[in-house]
Amino acid sequence: MTRVLVVLAITASLGGLFLWGLLRGSPDREVESARLNRQVISFDLPLYPRFQGTFGPTLNLATELNDKPVIVNFWATWCGPCYDEAPHLQAAWQRYQDDVLIIGVQTQDRGKRVEGEAFLDRFGITFPNVIDDDSRVSIDYGLFGVPETFFVRRDGTLLYKHTGPITLDKLEEKIAELTAS
């Protein structure tokens, strides 16, 4: 009986140690973007043809910032979570297009125009979408993966960066902060 108790005691202490390790969580995984409150890098990228009527052949971030704060959303056709967040972005655009400009950037997705068009059609997206074919802008913005969403103030500084699919609630919260600043 003593032996059985010894075994149980050892198991319990190992279990306790590992349980603590699990509950401790993953330390320091949530790192705030080092670009917070700094100037973002501007870009000038070709637009999907359907948006060219309004904006011309390319879209320049610096120029658009003269007008309104901007939300830059990076997506790709191979990215599952991007399909989840697309309706939220479109909904936010329909409500707040007078206060803020949303720009979709298709990135890390070289040559996937037809698929990109299909993506825009599927969600009836009406905010401008540009094509970052050589992924240069995603490197400038230090992207870990897609989707990521950047909230840029009118002075060109970064208010907030969101990693992973974004929701309408989060968009509304940050749009309020953008327009207040």
């Binding site: 032996r3 198991t11 190992l14 590992f18 599952g80 890390q108 599927r122 992924s135």
Partner: protein, 665 residues
């Protein structure tokens, strides 16, 4: 007609497998308690049925991968439509969910095979029931805890493809497969050990029935660890193959205890000793495979092999704790029946050396486990974050490895029970002589430092020992017949497969020890900057950077340099190290190019990005002596294991007692 997607179909197969494996437990346990032959047959059929259902789930996943069905969550998160066929096929085990599905499938294969071939002994019922319990866990994981068959709606049009580090080398198609075959193979002796305890027959039966399975599991594990090292060498770009990373360590732990087990079972087989010890070792080995999976898949111990955290960690922890408490508890409860009655006759005997070897293997395992868990323990008690690196592991285990080499030479030459002092002295004189000469030659060639010289000396000692073993077997046979040396030798080899196989494996270990020693103690690692068109001397070589290049294939872009390697004025080879960028991934993958030579490797890796208009390249140059012999040693060890496993004409399915005088060591 209703259109059923592959996702629900895969899940259906998994739920079916879950039902069958649960039935395997219920029917097996009730059948074993009531000794009901019909229920026991039904439990065996459950094993086969589970295998069929798991095979269906694997087939469905492969179909989903090959047809780019991105509505299946696993395919969407790890595959890419434009990838080559072989990459799509092996994407099955390129990420967590798929690789656990593979594990479950391989396990079900072993369970089904065991259900069919295991001889009808009193141990079979509980052994198969134990297999069913383990299987149930490994079906529960893909069915419920980390499901690969979730339906994604709307389905994305394409996926990102597997981790580029895994796409970059064919070896990745092999390594995880071997690893799981090893883990799963060691489940069989564990199941029989459990059966021995549950059915109150903790004698030697369980171990004799699983000897072959143990060797198969051990062989696959060995091959898996070596291919893992080779992959790391060819892909990770630092020119090394072992970094004492937690993931490497935890795969090594069950290997160490399994190696100890492989030797100590022979003591039980021949001398009926170490019964309890062997039970403990196999339980420990199995528990360590679970612990390793938990540690590396939960984020509890930080590692470069980040599989991310998720619900898999807690699941493996729970199962590990249940197995620990259940199996060790069972041993504690039955201890009075399994305690040894025989005693060691004399420490200088085969069993004495095996026992000493066992202690050393366990000491190495303990040191590695401690080093791996130490950061967690410290953080739990003090809150400080520490890391334990290679120096600890090297210092703690190197003296012990020397002990392993020492015992490996002497053990097989010692007879059971007690050594004849005169023969022993003669043998020791030859071996010591060979060792001293080898060490002296090494010193003359410029080797310095205690461990390099000791390693070479002990290699001489072991080669002398292997020669003595062979002579001892061949010479008497030559005297009595008229056959040639070759005939006698092949005759001996095939009549004593386990013994001869073990000699091949031991020879492989010597080769490996030399390779590891030379490549780690005498490795040169430098960064050089060379203008395009220029030549730079490096040791006895010269490098000429001919050009830079950029190549685009359907799947990736590679940018690198064309480097001619000359020695003594003649061109050895042209190496093309590069950096690959896979489409759908933003991560750059260094792709070193290696010149394999018998005496040393030349390893070039691009250290700073190259563009077509670069005027210079920065290269990491690693020159590792004898490193190719580490892989060759791996082949030798695998061959030796396979040789020992060749079924003998006398034995049926390897479950019978081996002919007298044979042994695996």
């Amino acid at each position: 007609m209703m259109d059923v997607g592959l996702g629900p179909l895969g899940n259906a197969a998994l739920y079916l497998a879950l039902a069958f494996s649960v039935w395997g437990i219920v029917a097996g346990a009730i059948g074993a308690i009531r000794r009901d032959a019909r229920l026991l047959t039904s439990a065996r059929l459950a094993g086969v049925a589970t295998f069929l259902a798991m095979t269906a789930s694997i087939a469905i996943m492969e179909i989903a991968l090959l047809t780019d069905d991105f509505s299946v969550s696993y395919v969407a998160s790890t595959s890419r439509a434009g990838n080559p066929l072989w990459v799509k096929m092996v994407t099955l085990w390129a990420a967590l969910e798929g690789s656990l599905l593979l594990w479950g499938w391989l396990l079900s294969g072993y369970w089904a095979l065991l259900s069919i071939v295991a001889p009808n002994s009193p141990l079979r019922a509980w052994a198969l029931t134990t297999m069913a319990v383990v299987q149930t866990f490994f079906v529960l994981v893909p069915a419920v805890i980390a499901p690969p068959f979730e339906v994604i709606s709307p389905a994305p049009l394409d996926g990102p493809g597997p981790n580029p580090l895994l796409q970059n080398h064919w070896m990745m198609a092999v390594h995880p497969f071997l690893m799981y075959l090893g883990f799963v193979g060691l489940t069989v002796p564990f199941a029989f050990a459990m059966s021995a305890l549950l059915s109150g027959r903790p004698g030697s039966e369980w171990m004799l029935q699983t000897r072959r399975w143990t060797l198969i599991g051990w062989g696959f594990l060995t091959a898996a660890i070596i291919t893992g090292g080779w992959w790391s060498y060819e892909v990770l770009g630092w020119g090394g193959y072992w970094a004492w990373d937690p993931v490497e360590n935890v795969s090594f732990l069950p290997w160490l205890t399994a190696t100890a087990f492989l030797h100590s079972v022979q003591v039980q087989e021949r001398r009926h000793m170490l019964k309890g010890w062997n039970l403990l070792l196999i339980i420990l080995t199995f528990s360590l495979t679970l612990l390793g999976t938990f540690l590396t898949r939960s984020g509890v111990v930080s590692s470069v092999h980040a599989f991310g955290d998720g619900p898999v960690g807690p699941a493996f922890l729970t199962f590990f704790l249940i197995v620990m408490a259940g199996s060790f508890g069972l041993v504690a409860w039955r201890w009075d029946g399994i305690r040894d009655r025989a005693d060691l006759d004399h420490p200088v005997s085969r069993e004495g050396s095996f026992l000493a070897g066992n202690v050393i293997f366990l000491a190495i395992a303990f040191a590695i486990l401690l080093g791996t868990l130490f950061p967690l323990i410290v953080e739990a008690f003090t809150g400080d974050k520490v890391t334990v690196g290679a120096p600890f592991f090297d210092q703690a285990t190197l003296p012990l490895w020397m002990g392993v080499l020492l015992l490996m030479g002497i053990g097989p030459l010692l007879p059971w029970r007690r050594a004849n002092t005169q023969t022993l002295r003669g043998n020791l004189a030859w071996m010591t002589g060979a060792g001293v000469i080898a060490a002296a030659v090494a010193y003359a060639f410029g080797l310095r430092g205690i461990y390099p010289i000791l390693t070479v000396g002990l290699s001489g000692w072991n080669l002398a020992s292997l020669t003595l073993l062979l002579l001892g077997a061949v010479v008497p046979r030559m005297r009595v017949g008229t056959r040639s040396v070759v005939q006698v030798l092949t005759g001996y080899a095939f009549e004593n497969r386990r013994r001869f196989g073990s000699m091949i494996v031991h020879f492989g270990v010597v080769v490996m020890a030399l390779g590891i020693m030379a490549s780690s103690a005498y490795r040169i690692d430098e960064q050089v900057r060379i203008e395009v068109g220029d030549t730079m001397p490096f040791q006895d070589l010269t490098f000429t950077v001919q050009d830079t290049f950029m190549e685009t294939t359907e799947y990736r872009v590679g940018a690198g340099a064309v480097v001619d390697v000359h020695r003594d004025g003649s061109l050895l080879t042209t190496l093309r190290p590069k950096i690959n960028t896979f489409f759908g991934q933003s991560m750059n993958v260094p792709t070193p190019d290696v010149l394999y030579l018998p005496l040393y490797d030349v390893y070039l890796n691009i250290a700073a990005g190259v563009t077509p208009d670069s005027e210079f390249v920065v290269l990491r140059v690693v020159r590792s002596p004898l490193v190719a012999w580490v892989w060759i040693a791996g082949f030798i060890m695998a061959f030796g294991t396979a040789f020992a496993l060749i079924p003998s004409r006398r034995g049926v399915r390897g479950t019978q007692r081996a002919p007298k005088g044979s042994s695996v060591a």
